[in-house]
């Protein structure tokens, strides 16, 4: 597969208003959209560039979402799979806010527990809750540990 150098030209057009998520781990751009619950049936105008050459990361993905400014709690969910991502909020073609992502200490309703016997996998009115301990996520209800393939457990 040929890699395109994002730095050398405009692979995708700039946006006037919205959010640009840069420095996503290469190949995870579509997962980021899934986490943000942006699908083909939602109204946002979205551009995705995958496996763009990056000095820092080797390859990276870039996602641009027009007319939607992501909130902190939304972007922090991204940190699970793209810890180096940067979020740029664009207004009138200018970057008005630039921030990194930070994995919260507690993830509520972000990943589902892989333990079928966990109380969070029933009809109880409760969301999953995981504490983040380094690279591991630990269910606060049943102590089940997720240590790999985290993206497959994202709700």
């Amino acid at each position: 597969m040929k890699n395109y150098n994002y730095q050398e030209g405009l692979l995708i057009n700039p946006i006037s208003n919205g959010t640009v998520i840069d420095h996503i781990t290469g190949g995870e751009g579509l997962t980021v959209l899934r986490i943000l619950k942006i699908t083909g049936s939602t109204s946002e105008c979205v551009s995705v560039a995958t496996n763009v050459l990056s000095n820092a990361l080797g390859t990276k993905d870039v996602v641009k979402i027009e007319n939607r400014e992501l909130k902190t709690e939304e972007v922090d969910r991204i940190a699970l799979i793209a810890p180096n991502a940067t979020i740029n909020i664009i207004r009138d073609k200018r970057v008005v806010e630039k921030k990194g992502v930070e994995i919260p200490d507690i993830l509520v309703g972000v990943v589902h527990c892989p333990n079928p016997c966990c109380i969070t996998n029933t009809n109880e009115p409760v969301m999953s809750r995981f504490s983040v301990q380094g690279p591991r996520l630990i269910c606060e209800y049943c102590d089940t540990v997720i240590s790999s393939d985290i993206s497959s457990y994202i709700i």
Partner: protein
């Protein structure tokens, strides 16, 4: 989720929520109660709600006995089949409702994390009486109390034997013993050892687990041997189950040459793990352990209700 005010906890959900001083305090309180009983019916007029969604003999009866000895009363759920759960009510709603009827709730439930959830919806203290393969903190406190009756908990050499993959009592006990720098030997057949995630956690807590497939190779060095049941349903081949159960059975011959102060514990019920001939030996403490359920649970009830 516990509220700590001094040593007063609002809920008992997991032994992992308790630090050493809290465990020591409960053991001390249980010792006082065992020696001199409780003062003047301290829980007179209080009601304990027993919500058992799974069968239980020892846990339910000893909580009931503990509450009656403290002067309080008990209210039972009755059978799950006649409860509102049978109509599809959530546990969360049941807990909200029963919070208005009882001053404390003891919950046993087949789903892991049920007690944690209950504590989030209850207006009264919740004590976990066992949640699926999860936690059973009162059993662990009874285990620690029984060991403490024979020896100081610090630095003991303990062997955990049986189905360590799925056994909640061994997991909880191992976590609690990390507070006492115990040397833990895990004795089990291949495939039924402690889960990697638990070994990892225990290591993080400063306790490196030493694993064995044979009890003979370590039993003479132990202070405590904690025996648990192999569950037949874990073995697809019945012949394999009988072979393994027989090779891990504790009998008088196996106990020749063990330390004089060795104690044998078992959360009960036992099936064939311990030869009945062992019951008469000085090492056997499992029936005493079961009886200790009452003073330990009295201490727990006083802790959350007084």
């Amino acid at each position: 989720m516990i509220t700590v005010a001094g040593l007063h906890l609002k809920h008992f959900i997991s032994v992992r929520d308790l630090d050493r001083s809290q465990i020591d305090h409960l053991i001390h309180r249980a010792s006082e109660i065992a020696e001199s009983g409780a003062d003047q019916e301290p829980l007179k007029g209080k009601i304990l709600g027993l919500l058992f969604f799974e069968p239980s003999t020892r846990t339910r009866m000893s909580f009931e006995s503990a509450m009656l000895r403290l002067g309080g009363s008990c209210m039972n759920l009755g059978g799950v089949e006649v409860s509102s759960m049978a109509k599809g009510e959530t546990l969360a709603d049941t807990i909200r409702v029963v919070s208005g009827y009882a001053d404390t709730i003891v919950l046993r439930h087949p789903k892991v994390g049920a007690a944690r959830l209950a504590s989030e919806f209850a207006d009264v203290p919740v004590i976990n009486g066992g949640d699926g393969a999860g936690q059973h903190p009162s059993q662990t406190l009874i285990d620690l109390y029984t060991i403490h009756q024979s020896m100081p908990l610090d630095g003991i050499k303990i062997g955990l034997i049986g189905d360590l993959m799925y056994g909640r009592t061994t997991h909880s006990l191992a976590y609690a013993l990390t507070r006492y720098q115990a040397e833990i030997h895990a004795i089990s057949p291949k495939g039924l050892g402690l889960p990697d995630s638990i070994k990892h956690d225990l290591k993080e807590l400063g306790c490196e687990i030493i694993e064995h497939e044979s009890v003979e190779e370590i039993i003479r060095e132990l202070d405590v041997l904690y025996v648990t049941r192999f569950q037949r349903e874990r073995f697809p081949d019945p012949a394999q189950f009988f072979d393994i159960a027989a090779s891990y059975r504790i009998n008088p011959t196996l106990l020749e040459g063990v330390r004089e102060n060795l104690i044998l514990l078992h959360p009960l019920p036992r099936v064939d793990e311990i030869d009945p001939a062992v019951d008469r030996l000085p090492y056997a403490r499992y029936f005493e352990q079961a009886r200790n359920g009452v003073p330990v649970r009295m201490a727990m009830l006083l802790e959350v209700m007084q």
